[in-house]
Each structure stands twice: as structure tokens, then as C-alpha cells.
């Protein structure tokens, strides 16, 4: 945790951007969500790119009933690393939820509901809303992710964008 420009002589100091990760971030998320209020913080990493990019500001809402649904993007505690991650829910097995980063090649991780902290409801990039990936299309994205086709499709779309198909002029 680091917070520059804190005057240690002041009994209370305002801190700017607080870089927290790991258990500290989880604790803050849980503490705020337990009050029933949303939590807003800066995402770090590229596992959900291009839908969520490094530095995007995310708003997470506490879980309510019904429980998170197929395609929802959730903040959860990853069972392998015990870190807080933001991944997409791509399935259920028995009573456990399968989550996976959109931009990862893993098969995903199964976790119990108690390890899902909340659902991402808003993504902001450079002060603008970019909610592509959170609307109805999220189910299709989850389906492609589950079939392990998402990365292929995304890379194809990226190539198309870089080299748009040129129309041939008529002779």
C-alpha cells in the first residue's frame, strides 16, 4: 500500500490515489459492500481486455438476489492465488461458479458464491462510460469464452480493424 504526500505530523491526512492490492483491496471492497453500497476502484491488469483495460475505473455493486448470472462480470477471490480478480462468470457446476478472464487462456476457476464479492456494473475509461461487455452481449461473450473461441474472435476483429477490407474499384 502506498500513499504519497502524507504529512506524518498531521493527525489526519488526505491521501490521493491509494494503491492497494491483494488482501488490502479485498478487505476494502468487502467492508464497503457489506454496508450495501457500491465500491469504485481502479482496475489493474489485462485479463479482461478489451472489455476492461488496465486503469479503467470499475463500480462494483454488492450481490443481491438473484445470484450473479451467466455472463456477469464479477469481482471475486481467485481460489489459486487468493487475490481479488475481476472475471466473467461463464458457467455453474453443482453449486460452484466458473469464472474466467476474457483475455486468458486458462480454463477458468470454480469458486463458491461466498468468494464472489460483487458484480461490475460500470466501467469508466478516461472519464467516459464503456459498458460494452456488460449489456446483453455479455452472455454471448461468456459463451464464446466457455467454448474457448473468444480470444480467436477478438484477435480476428482486431486484425480486421487494423487492416480493413478494401473495396475493389470497378474497372
Amino acid at each position: 500500500m502506498k500513499h504519497p504526500a502524507v504529512d506524518p505530523s498531521e493527525p489526519i491526512a488526505q491521501i490521493g490515489e491509494l494503491a492497494v492490492s491483494g488482501p488490502a483491496l479485498r478487505e476494502m471492497i468487502q467492508a464497503v459492500l457489506q454496508t450495501g453500497r457500491p465500491f469504485r476502484f481502479k482496475a489493474a491488469g489485462t485479463s479482461m481486455s478489451p472489455f476492461i483495460k488496465n486503469g479503467d475505473v470499475l463500480t462494483i455493486r454488492p450481490l443481491s438476489s438473484p445470484p450473479p448470472a451467466f455472463g456477469d462480470v464479477v469481482a471475486c477471490i481467485h481460489p489459486d492465488t487468493n487475490k481479488t480478480v475481476v472475471h466473467r462468470l461463464i458457467g455453474r457446476q453443482n453449486r460452484r461458479y466458473l469464472v474466467k478472464g476474457d483475455n486468458t487462456r486458462t480454463l477458468g476457476a470454480l469458486l463458491p458464491l461466498k468468494d464472489i464479492l460483487g458484480c461490475v456494473t460500470k466501467v469508466e475509461r478516461n472519464g467516459r462510460h464503456v459498458d460494452w461487455g456488460l449489456g446483453p452481449e455479455r452472455r454471448l461473450i461468456a459463451l464464446f469464452s466457455r467454448w474457448r473461441l473468444l480470444l480467436l474472435i477478438l484477435s480476428f476483429l482486431q486484425r480486421l480493424r487494423r487492416h480493413p477490407v478494401q473495396e475493389q474499384p470497378y474497372d
Binding site: M1, H3, V6, I12, A31, R40, F41
Partner: protein, 103 residues
């Protein structure tokens, strides 16, 4: 804004803040506009502030809190009173603390 501290009042953390001790520091997140916002203003307390904060149990009056600190610490009573008054005034000004009855 003028803040008048009452020695017989009980001061407690507002319900509109979340405070947690993380990695040895108290981090206070105001729930501005109903959101816990890590991108907005956050606060931390210095070691003196932490000691005072940890004694805000919702039962002790300000007078009792100061007496307890005078008993627990070796510093001059006037110094302790000044530190407590300074912190409480700042916290009340920022609406991080409220009087228990108005909580």
C-alpha cells in the same frame, strides 16, 4: 466552519464512512454519494490519530476518552487534550465523526 466540542458528548464514526486497519494503518473511505470510492478522497491517520480512533467505542464521552489517554500515556495532559481536540475537530469538520445521538 466552527466546531464546538462538548466534553460530555460521545463521538462515533459516521455511518457514511468505512474505516479499516490495513497493513498497520487506518484507512478511512467516505461513502460519498453513497459509493465507497477509492478514486475519491481517502484519509489516513498518523500514530496519534490511530490511538484516539481506536478508543472511539461509542460509549466513552470525550472527557473519559481524554482521561483514559492521560492514564495510558506518559505525555503531558495538556498535550494530549490538544491532540485529541485537534483530531476530533478535523474529523467532525470532514463529517467522518458524528455525535452519537445524532449518528
Amino acid at each position: 466552519m466552527t466546531i464546538n466540542l462538548s466534553p460530555d458528548a460521545v463521538y462515533v464514526p459516521s455511518q457514511d464512512v468505512v474505516a479499516r486497519e490495513i497493513e498497520g494503518e487506518i484507512i478511512i473511505v467516505p461513502l460519498a454519494a453513497g459509493i465507497g470510492d477509492m478514486e475519491d478522497e481517502l484519509f489516513t491517520l498518523n500514530p496519534t490519530g490511530m490511538v484516539i480512533w481506536q478508543k472511539l467505542d461509542g460509549k466513552k464521552t470525550l472527557r473519559e476518552l481524554i482521561e483514559e489517554l492521560i492514564h495510558d500515556y506518559d505525555a503531558a495532559p495538556e498535550e494530549i487534550e490538544k491532540d485529541v481536540a485537534g483530531l476530533m475537530t478535523e474529523l467532525l469538520k470532514r463529517k467522518i465523526l458524528v455525535e452519537a445521538s445524532s449518528g
